[in-house]
């Protein structure tokens, strides 16, 4: 029986042995296959850089001003392409659907080194183009009769973020822009680049699925909420553009600020850039044109500076509102004769008359009464000559010459008093004047309202950066500036709302002499006078329709104020007084 069954055992033995050899052979085959070799070469871990999404920027009402959108890096797996021989099909598909250069794509694929596994064909490809390519690839894949060389196997799309500005050019002077390398330039994007950009994380990701590890979530960049109001910003840009067209001015600036806390509600200047097309920057801003004139271009402001001179005079007690002055049309300061804007003599005036008629001679006299030390001490307290510290990149300092400086002359005391011989930026002027509108407290202009990080919103607190004048002086100035507008029947006044303000017309020096046909027209104003909610600074450079600020900027202030009272929901004075009395 044993002998008769032996052959059976031997058959089983050989059979099992053969199976064992087959299994070992198969294992050997798997271990030595090209795929296994490639897997080993790739290593157990992939080094990957995770980029956080850039923080978004909102206006004060939650409208998105700067966000992110998905774009793609289009690449190709060269091993697949070598196998399928479909370089031509890939190049053609990318050329037709994504507008890429056929020859460039084809050479990128075919000229790649033999040891290269992957090549990037294009980056920052828009989602719409990628969708078209994917749909085309799918369509080809469904065609069973198509050969591998006509299909698009091997294409890969890696998504990443790109900055997107839904409002295009709105508030572009304030926001700035981000280039493809995720660096912010100008404005908020540059000033807060560090917190907006977030911190990329470099990690090793195991290839072996059994060794899966959690990919750490990269903390996105900090979201910013600005003090800007999109509606007010849009209205100001519309008004400025219309004004430039009507007045023929070379450029313009409008700033709207809350004088009680320094929040910038709108800030615009020209030119403006479509932020989604920042590559046109050099065409829009040729010859070192300032990106944001409101903060970076200093100029001689002219008579708007008289509000600071008169505030100083009242605060030091050099004059009172009723102090009289006999205007003879000329005053000699530092050996130089100074005249009024119309070269006329206005006779006996009080301080209200001096400010109402904007008499240079009177203000030069006021400066002499104040004295150089006091005058320049106050100008420094008002923040002239140094930056305001506004949270925007590229702020200018202006120039305030001081006694003792090599280029300061005694006559400068007289000319500085009416805003010539010194230079300021619009933002410096509005900060300085905030002390008058805000009971003597000067507030720092700023654009950041709050930051949002990991779901927590932190509001920024405003800063009082000085008390250059007393509350009493501020109230007196408010009253004088409001009355002077009313008495002058200024084009800046508006019905139902009492506003205060001052025009400024400054001739522009050309080759060392002032050219009467070229002026900077400025206006600073605020309202309602008894409870200021807005402060406006307007600057038009070289207006052609009229050189006088009272004719070109005063009506603009009225238009701006009329918009603001509606957009900010400010009740007319009589209604406010009624409500306050209840």
């Amino acid at each position: 029986m044993i002998n008769s069954s032996r052959w059976r055992y031997q058959v089983i033995q050989y059979f099992l042995g053969a199976i064992c050899i087959l299994i070992i052979g198969k294992i050997f085959f798997y271990q030595t296959s090209p795929e296994a070799e490639a897997f080993r070469e790739g290593g157990d871990l992939n080094l990957t850089t995770l980029y956080p999404s850039r923080g978004e920027i909102y206006d004060r009402n939650g409208n998105l001003l700067a966000g992110n959108k998905t774009v793609y890096e289009v690449g190709v797996d060269l091993n697949t392409v070598r196998l399928d021989n479909n370089a031509e099909a890939l190049s053609l598909a990318l050329s037709v659907n994504a507008g890429l250069d056929f020859a460039k794509v084809y050479s990128s694929i075919t000229m790649a080194g033999a040891d290269q596994n992957y090549v990037v064909l294009a980056d920052n490809v828009q989602a719409a183009a990628v969708d078209k390519i994917k749909a085309y690839k799918l369509e080809l894949a469904k065609k069973s009769e198509a050969s591998a060389s006509t299909k698009l196997e091997g294409l890969s799309f890696k998504a990443h973020y790109q900055r997107f500005y839904p409002e295009n050019s709105l508030a572009s002077n304030v926001i700035g822009f981000v280039t493809l390398d995720n660096n912010g330039y100008f404005g908020i994007e540059q000033e807060y680049n560090n917190i907006l950009a977030g911190i990329p994380s470099i990690i090793w990701i195991p290839v072996n699925p059994t060794r899966v590890e959690e990919i750490p979530q990269v903390k996105p960049g900090t979201t910013l909420i600005l003090t800007l109001d999109r509606e007010i910003q849009s209205a100001m840009e519309t008004i400025l553009d219309k004004t430039l067209k009507e007045s023929g001015s070379e450029s313009g600036t409008i700033i709207v600020m809350d004088p009680k806390n320094g929040e910038i509600l709108a800030m615009t200047s020209t030119p403006r850039l479509n932020l989604n097309d920042y590559s046109s920057y050099s065409q829009v801003f040729p010859d070192s044109t300032p990106y944001n004139r409101a903060i970076s271009q200093a100029y001689e402001p002219g008579s708007v500076l008289k509000v600071l001179t008169l505030s100083t005079a009242l605060d030091t007690g050099a004059v009172t509102p009723s102090t009289g002055f006999m205007d003879t049309g000329v005053i000699v300061v530092g050996g130089v004769a100074l005249n009024n804007w119309d070269r006329g003599a206005w006779g006996q005036q009080d301080m209200l008359g001096c400010v109402q008629h904007s008499l240079n001679v009177c203000f030069a006299w006021i400066a002499t009464q104040i004295g150089a030390d006091n005058f320049y001490g106050y100008m420094k307290k008002f923040g002239l000559g140094h930056t305001t510290g506004i949270d925007l990149a590229g702020e200018g300092t202006g120039r305030l010459k001081l006694p003792g400086d090599s280029d300061w002359y005694p006559v400068d005391l007289g000319t500085n008093a009416f805003g010539q011989g010194l230079s300021v930026t619009p933002i410096q002027m509005i900060m300085a004047a905030s002390a008058i509108a805000n009971n003597g407290k000067m507030v720092q202009p700023h654009l950041l309202y709050a930051t949002v990080e990991e779901g927590v919103q932190q509001n920024r607190h405003y800063a009082v950066v000085g008390n250059p004048i007393s509350s009493q002086t501020a109230q007196t100035m408010n009253e004088m500036l409001a009355t002077s507008l009313e008495k002058e029947a200024s084009l800046a006044t508006l019905p139902n709302y009492r506003v205060a303000g001052k025009t400024g017309t400054a001739q522009i020096p050309i080759f060392g002499r002032y050219d009467p046909s070229l002026t900077n027209a400025s206006f600073i104003g605020w309202g309602p006078v008894d409870d200021p909610k807005f402060m406006v600074y307007i600057w038009l450079e070289k207006p052609k329709s009229s050189t006088w600020s009272s004719e070109v900027t005063a009506p603009v202030f009225k238009e701006v104020a009329e918009k603001l009272v509606v957009l900010m929901g400010i009740a007319p004075d009589h209604i406010r007084h009624q409500l306050a009395g209840q």
């Binding site: 409002e167 295009n168 709050a450 949002v452 779901g455």
Partner: protein
């Protein structure tokens, strides 16, 4: 001595029976090893599948974050100032002039005074993979003892 030898011989298994026993033992060991290997392969496969699922879920998470950003941008684009103004004009609205406005006091109405921006969703930065899936039995016992 002879008796003892005879006794052993009487109780000695037949050669073929011993062979069968060895084969049986070998097969039993083979089955045991196969079972262990089966378990190992099963668990490894499930681990790999779970790993792949986690990787896919992480990819989905990133894809969704991209989609959210895209949708936010699209909504912002559709509701941009320029678009809204164009739509308003197309619907027949015209900008009101200053003398067409009237300020009306509405009792009980409180105008917006603070920024009404809802905070973004708190991103849960806690680990997605629970420690039960990564810690060893020793770690598990050790952690149980901690408060």
């Amino acid at each position: 001595m002879k008796t003892l030898s005879q006794l052993f011989q009487n109780y000695r298994q037949a050669a073929w029976r011993t062979q069968i026993q060895w084969i049986g033992l070998f097969l039993a060991m083979l089955v045991a090893v196969a079972i262990v290997l089966g378990f190992y392969v099963n668990i490894t496969t499930r681990t790999a599948l779970a790993g792949r699922e986690i990787a896919y879920a992480q990819d989905d998470l990133i894809t969704m974050q991209h989609k959210i950003s895209d949708l936010e941008s699209q909504i912002a684009s559709l509701t941009s100032t320029q678009n809204i103004q164009e739509r308003a004009v197309a619907m027949g609205f015209i900008p009101a002039t200053a003398d067409e406005f009237m300020y009306v006091v509405v009792p009980g109405y409180s105008p917006k005074t603070a920024i009404n921006l809802a905070p973004k969703l708190v991103r849960d930065l806690k680990p997605i993979i629970l420690p039960e899936y990564t810690e060893s039995l020793f770690d598990w016992f050790a952690n149980r003892g901690r408060p």
